[in-house]
């Protein structure tokens, strides 16, 4: 090996940051998990927070019921953050935090925890997700209205660029757009539109272009990769190209290094199936190729979902299996030994050009609407529409999902045969423990210091010329809680409800909808009133795709559908059901809090005079839980197994006919 070959790199590339999205219950248990994962060769941390932490409520808040420690770790104050990072050297660690509405707060807690370890903020490395637009569009963990939210983002960016220079203050997320049904073109365009909105806000806040190079260089992306991995790779090349142009043309960034498209990835969860879940391992492997194969558009950090995500929360062993896949890719294969293997490929170039062209048109559209913040309603409706079309293709068989709508015969799986059905169940004691712990924390701190810090915070929030970070860091030091920080900002900024997008979505009737419609008409006539169906999302879970698709399809089947969006309390759902006079209630929950929230809705209905209204439930609900819910009085439980929406709707219509004594559905 004397001559350097153009086919090989002189030196093997360093692998991307290898992470696992992890965290559950409380800080102590998550800390143990992180240490174990790091010992297994993980090279960075990716912190999953629970929904109360993400939306700014303390564990003892009414809205937090059922959600504490469920989809991530509960962090209520500086003490929790200290315990979470205990024994992890923060001057060396690279920590990604999936935190958005409350990003400024969690960043402040992280800075304070590092300070306690003797690590200066200037040494810290990591990422706060901090992207609010995709929360409005897809993920639903927003807390404040768009204007103040964009200001918080701009504040954290301005602060980190000057004080925490190695921190990525924002991850522009296209990931959740694909989860919400975005096509590749939509994913690219909406992410770029979002980035423009953020950069414009920062530029305005800085009042000068002098720092824009540094700012631009710190913006990173969080991208999705689906199983159509060739096109997905092209998507990333297209994004690199558009990003580079954007930096040079719109923001005058001259340093090419600052214009490099930097991104982390979580590969697709949308395409993972509950049916034959073992097949998901292959999907995940192929998706990982999309973001690692071509050197010119390779991910800088990667986290892979576990094979059983569609079933429930993954166990440590499931996460280890995903970690090993990354390590095989990075250390066994030859993927890191070559220059970009797609350079010069006509097919790849043409694919990229196609996507760039489509994305440009869509970016222009967003700009015509006044930018991404103004275009939230438009984008949301477009996503609901795309998702509904995708689902239509799956139902009609035009799009194959192996094991689900094709090749669906299967042997019993030994992987899910265990007593725990192959998932992690969070200790139900955690919520009580956290509730008590936060109350003890409040009792033991210096109340005067807390009051003073909250007054400072409110003053900073009310003064648009101040950066929110210094007062936020001071509040973290004083012992303020997550809920107090958010409540203070809510009192200044007001609260907000995102658009649901369902009103604008046009239907894509397919399959047997004609027959269902006939039944809806027949039963409505017999009832004297059109079947009215309330689709509700109780709790803090913002993953509304399922609820939205069900609402749109029920409308298309001829029902009057009441859908009021996410984050409703059981009391609100029950009051709506009774006042709206609905014939049936459908509840959707994906966060694992069904065991608490569904019975709460049932009893609120009974108390509110709606005890006779049948309730159906959909979501990621393990079999054992489903049995318990049916026994508690739920009329039917639907899981990802019931992917044929038309059949679910037909079932609900028959249930209405049955319950109100106007005849079951006519035979097919």
């Amino acid at each position: 090996m004397s001559d350097p070959s153009p086919a090989r790199l002189p030196e093997r590339d360093r692998p991307w940051l290898i992470r696992t999205y992890a965290g559950h219950s409380d800080a102590k248990r998550s800390n143990e998990l992180y240490r174990r994962n790091l010992a297994k060769g993980q090279t960075g941390l990716s912190v999953a927070f629970d929904l109360p932490t993400q939306t700014g409520y303390d564990p003892d808040d009414e809205l937090a019921v059922g959600e504490v420690g469920k989809v991530g770790v509960s962090i209520a104050h500086a003490g929790d953050m200290r315990a979470l990072l205990d024994g992890i050297p923060l001057d060396q660690m690279n920590t990604s935090m999936t935190i958005n509405a409350t990003a400024a707060w969690l960043l402040a807690l992280y800075i304070v925890a590092a300070d306690e370890q003797g690590v200066a903020e200037s040494q810290l490395q990591g990422t706060t997700q901090n992207d609010i637009l995709k929360e409005y569009l897809s993920r639903g963990t927003y807390a404040f209205p768009p204007g103040p939210s964009m200001r918080l983002i701009a504040d954290t960016i301005v602060y980190t660029v000057t004080h925490v220079p190695r921190w990525n203050p924002i991850n522009i997320c296209s990931y959740h757009l694909q989860e919400a049904g975005a096509t590749p073109v939509q994913e690219i365009a909406y992410a770029m539109g979002n980035a423009i909105a953020v950069l414009d806000a920062v530029r305005e806040r800085l009042g000068t272009d002098a720092l824009m190079g540094e700012v631009f260089g710190r913006i990173s992306f969080f991208v999705n990769a689906g199983v159509r991995f060739i096109e997905e790779h092209a998507k990333l090349r297209a994004m690199s190209q558009l990003w580079d142009e954007l930096g040079a043309e719109r923001y005058g960034v001259t340093d090419a290094k600052q214009r490099r498209f930097r991104y982390g990835v979580q590969v697709n969860s949308l395409g993972l199936t509950e049916a034959q879940p073992e097949n998901n391992v292959y999907r995940i492997a192929l998706e990982a190729l999309a973001v690692t194969l071509g050197r010119n558009a390779r991910a800088r950090a990667l986290q892979l979902p576990a094979w059983n995500e569609a079933l429930g929360l993954p166990r440590p062993w499931d996460q280890q299996w995903s970690l090993r896949l990354q390590q095989i890719l990075a250390f066994e294969t030859d993927i890191l030994e070559y220059p970009d293997i797609f350079e010069g490929s006509h097919v790849m170039e043409a694919l990229v050009a196609e996507l760039v062209e489509g994305a440009r048109a869509e970016i222009a559209r967003i700009s015509e609407l006044g930018g991404a913040v103004e275009a939230v309603d438009y984008m949301k409706a477009a996503l609901v529409q795309s998702h509904s079309e995708r689902w239509g293709r799956i139902e009609s068989g035009e799009q194959t999902i192996v094991g689900m709508n094709r090749f669906d015969t299967t042997e019993p799986s030994p992987l899910t045969a265990d007593g725990d059905a192959g998932i992690l169940v969070v200790d139900p004691e955690v919520e009580d423990q956290q509730r008590t712990a936060v109350q003890r924390w409040r009792a033991e701190r210096d109340a005067d210091a807390v009051d003073a810090a909250l007054r400072e915070l409110a003053a900073a929030a009310a003064d648009p010329d101040q950066n929110i970070m210094p007062a936020t860091i001071a509040a973290a030091r004083a012992g303020v809680t997550t809920g107090e920080w958010s409540r203070t900002l809510r009192s200044v900024f007001g609260s907000y409800r995102g658009p649901t997008g369902v009103g604008e979505a046009s239907g894509t009737p397919s399959g047997n909808l004609v027959e269902v419609r006939d039944n809806v008409e027949r039963i409505s006539e017999a009832l004297g009133r059109r079947i009215k169906f309330l689709v509700g999302k109780p709790g803090l879970d913002g993953h509304s795709n399922g609820a939205e698709q069900l609402a749109v399809r029920a409308r298309d089947a001829g029902m009057d559908v009441v859908y009021e969006g996410i984050r409703l309390t059981p009391g609100e759902i029950a009051a709506s059901a009774v006042q709206e006079g609905v014939h049936v209630v459908g509840l959707s929950i994906l966060s694992g809090s069904h065991a608490q929230l569904i019975p709460a809705v049932l009893s609120a209905l009974r108390e509110g005079g709606g005890g006779e209204i049948p309730v159906v439930v959909g979501g990621i609900i393990p079999d054992l839980d489903a049995q318990a819910l049916l026994q508690a009085g739920v009329a039917a439980v639907y899981t990802p197994k019931d992917w044929d929406l038309n059949r679910t709707i037909a079932d609900i219509v028959a249930l209405v006919g049955d319950r109100y004594g106007v005849g079951a559905a006519a035979p097919a």
Binding site: P499, A526, G528, R529, R555, M559, D560, Y563, G581, Y660
Partner: protein, 334 residues
């Protein structure tokens, strides 16, 4: 199961019983009342008539106590957040509120999506607030007969009844027949409202509300334009109120004051009597068309006949009266 429950009708006295509960100001009857008046089965229609009779002026001995407010405007102007604040304001002064939100979402295959735009924040434990959304009727524009009936009925029990509709120019007339005051809501920069006003497509409302007053110059300009237009139409007295949709909320007190002032100035008896008769004629025309009107000797003759009817009759009874005339029942022809 009764006609008032989500399911089917059974009891023959359910309409009268619900009406009596409303007359006794029992707010908990509201949901069942709506379930009944929206029900189109012949039994429910009969019970609805009984319900309306039980809350008619004749039965109550006076006009229903509620202030009936129509709130209308184009989509996206911020009606929901305005209503959230209005409801909170009314509740703060201890007035019970019923909101009937007529959702415009276009019917497809008969179905509709409700609640998306009309979402109004409220305390679910507050039994003094009732909110119901209904899909816009199958006919274009206009108010579903059920909404008119519901507003009339709930007015016997609640302190404030709000009818919220979407649109400018089509449905105001019919809302004006039912509501005591109509507030039209616009946002800065929506020139069409100005045009509709000037051209007479839109009736002059009791109150004009401009949302998003935090927009500054644009909002000030919108206010000035609307005031100028009203002046040129000789309607200087119509208040134009600016409200802010972002924190801190602003202008809500002024709006409530303006509505209350108009209400005090209104001759309620005359206004509602005219409204009932107009609504009866409108409903009859929808159901029987020009041919039906012809059988009554034309619109003017029908209107003249309505003037001869007792003031205490509700609109449904008046429609029945008109219908019996087309069937030539002279004994009812007094």
């Amino acid at each position: 199961m009764t006609a008032g429950a989500p399911g089917l009708s059974a009891s023959e006295t359910v309409g009268r019983d619900l009406g009596r509960r409303l007359a006794a100001r029992d707010l908990s009857a509201a949901a069942e009342v709506l379930n009944l008046v929206e029900n189109r089965s012949p039994a429910a229609v009969e019970q609805t008539a009984a319900l309306l009779e039980a809350v008619s002026v004749a039965a109550l001995g006076h006009e229903a106590p509620a202030q009936i407010v129509g709130v209308t405007g184009p989509p996206g102007v911020g009606k929901s957040s305005l209503l959230s604040r209005l409801v909170a304001r009314w509740r703060a002064s201890d007035r019970s509120v019923a909101v009937l939100a007529v959702d415009p979402s276009s019917r497809r295959s008969g179905g509709s999506l409700l609640g998306d735009r009309v979402r109004i924040e409220r305390d679910p434990g507050d039994s003094q607030v009732f909110i119901r959304s209904t899909a816009a009727g199958d006919r274009l524009g206009g108010l579903a007969p059920a909404t008119r009936a519901a507003a009339t009925a709930l007015a016997a029990a609640f302190d404030v009844v709000v009818i919220e509709t979407v649109g400018v120019g089509q449905s105001e007339t019919e809302i004006a027949d039912v509501a005591d005051e109509v507030a039209v809501v616009v946002q800065p920069g929506s020139g069409d409202v100005l045009q509709f006003l000037k051209s007479g497509i839109m009736e002059i409302p009791d109150v004009l509300v401009v949302t998003k007053s935090d927009l500054g110059t644009v909002a000030h300009r919108a206010l000035a334009d609307l005031r100028a237009a009203l002046r040129s139409l000789g309607a200087d007295s119509v208040p134009v109120v600016a409200v802010s949709s972002v924190s801190p909320p602003d202008g809500i007190d002024a709006l409530v004051d303006a509505l209350d002032q108009r209400h005090r100035a209104l001759d309620l008896r005359v206004h509602r009597l005219r409204g009932r008769r107009a609504a009866a004629l409108a409903q009859f025309t929808v159901e029987h068309g020009e041919r039906g009107l012809g059988a009554l000797g034309g619109r003017r003759a029908a209107w003249a006949w309505l003037q001869t009817q007792p003031a205490g009759l509700d609109a449904t009874a008046l429609v029945a009266g008109l219908e019996s005339r087309t069937q030539g029942s002279p004994e009812r022809d007094r």
